[in-house]
Amino acid sequence: MIEITDLRKSFGDHAVLRGVSLEVARGEVVCLIGPSGSGKSTVLRCINGLESYDGGEVRVFGERVDAQSDDIHRLRGSLGMVFQRFNLFGHRTVLQNVMEGPVYVKREPVEKVKQEALALLKKVGIEDKACAYPAQLSGGQQQRVAIARALAMKPDAMLFDEPTSALDPELVGDVLQVMRALADEGMTMIVVTHEMGFAREVADRVCFLYDGRIVEEGPASQVLETPQNPRTQDFLRRILHAASQDASAAS
């Protein structure tokens, strides 16, 4: 469904992606992990053309992704994206945020969209906040609205760019819960994350990126529990160490 072949991208002199290849089949959940600056988010942003690329190719549903092309808007409609900083439209209510895409991009009838939007808000557990403005919600609530907004377009796949990284720890669970339910329904998902627990439990496959390349890839249990590459081992050790420090600090 999503095929990435030898993807290359530089920002000026700095090569961010040095040949990334990745295939994601329908219904698969793939987690991209790796240290910051390894290129995880850039891969994700190349998939829906928010970022252009210099070499290689990205194909979605068999179509080549080209950030400059006129077709990119249609393609984006079938790829939901959730951002680290939620990026809700600040001047519109929760319900309006969710309805915006179907009503103004797809031009669907308002009444039908409204019913669907309310159902989505119920699904992510914030139907009671439908009339609130984003600034009145917690980060976790905002992120669930952002997920509902992406789902309202009825996408064939969802891209998550560190969806829990900007959240207070106690709010992470609710968002992951929504994502887990989505994966259970068979949604195709690519998730950039630092949540190793989520990756282990939900991902069909985990890719470890380092310095613009995928250096290790495989089933979640294999990559996370018996990593072969020294870079992966080192990264996981640091992450687990930080997590256990958090735990001991909390106890």
């Binding site: 928010l50 984006r76 951002f83 990026n87 915006e100 991009v105 403005y133 009145q136 377009m153």
Partner: protein
């Protein structure tokens, strides 16, 4: 005081006629400057480099010229190129252009102040640039730009007196004419000043209220 009231009664009808013209000049040139200003702001933020450069040159030239010189140029020089305008037209167009540069900068600042992430989120749900501007960026840019926008309106109300220099019969001009024929400088200019305040102070007050109402929805 008795004299003042007596004279005021004689002068006020003429001054009020002028006030009507003042309001017309202000309103029309404000609308014109908003339209040109918005166009310049959008060009200034365009992805096409030559358009950006052209827009910022225009803005700089306009900002670098005194408003009176622009008015004189439009009213006295353009006829040499075959463009005949009435004083009123020249005044509206001159003020409109002169203020469009400031409007452009207000609008640009407002547009740039809208969080870049929202633009990306709008793109991610498939919005094209015009829709994204209309639905996401401009409504929020307008809220951010509203205080300086209102300020510009108040300044334009006052600066509409500049068109008196090209013989537009607005309030200041009418005052000058009365004063030079009656020599009642104090009465005339006191009345003129009071009438300006009578227009500008309620405007300031209304804008304050509007700002408060509009920001009310977003912040709690």
């Amino acid at each position: 005081m008795h004299d003042f009231l007596q004279q005021a009664r004689d002068f006020l009808p003429i001054l009020l006629q002028g006030a009507v013209v003042t309001v017309q000049v202000t309103a029309l040139s404000f609308i014109l400057s908003s339209l040109i200003g918005l166009a310049l702001a959008l060009l200034r933020l365009s992805r096409v480099a030559p358009l950006r450069a052209a827009a910022s040159s225009v803005i700089n030239v306009i900002r670098g010229l005194p408003i009176i010189v622009q008015l004189f140029y439009i009213y006295f020089v353009l006829p040499d190129f075959g463009v005949q305008l009435t004083a009123f037209q020249a005044g509206v167009i001159g003020l409109g252009i002169a203020y469009s540069a400031y409007q452009a900068e207000n609008f640009r600042a407002g547009i740039e102040a809208v969080d870049e992430g929202q633009r990306e989120a709008a793109q991610a749900i498939g919005m094209r640039t015009p829709l994204l501007m209309r639905r996401v960026i401009l409504p929020q840019a307008f809220r951010i730009a509203l205080p300086p926008y209102g300020n510009t309106l108040v300044m334009m109300l006052k600066d509409s007196s500049l068109v008196s220099t090209i013989t537009v019969a607005e309030m200041t001009r009418q005052g000058q004419l009365i004063a030079s024929s009656t020599f009642q400088n104090m009465t005339v200019y006191t009345l003129v000043a009071l009438l300006y305040l009578l227009m500008s102070l309620p405007l300031v007050w209304m804008l304050k209220r509007l700002e408060r109402r509009i920001s009310g929805g977003r912040k709690q």
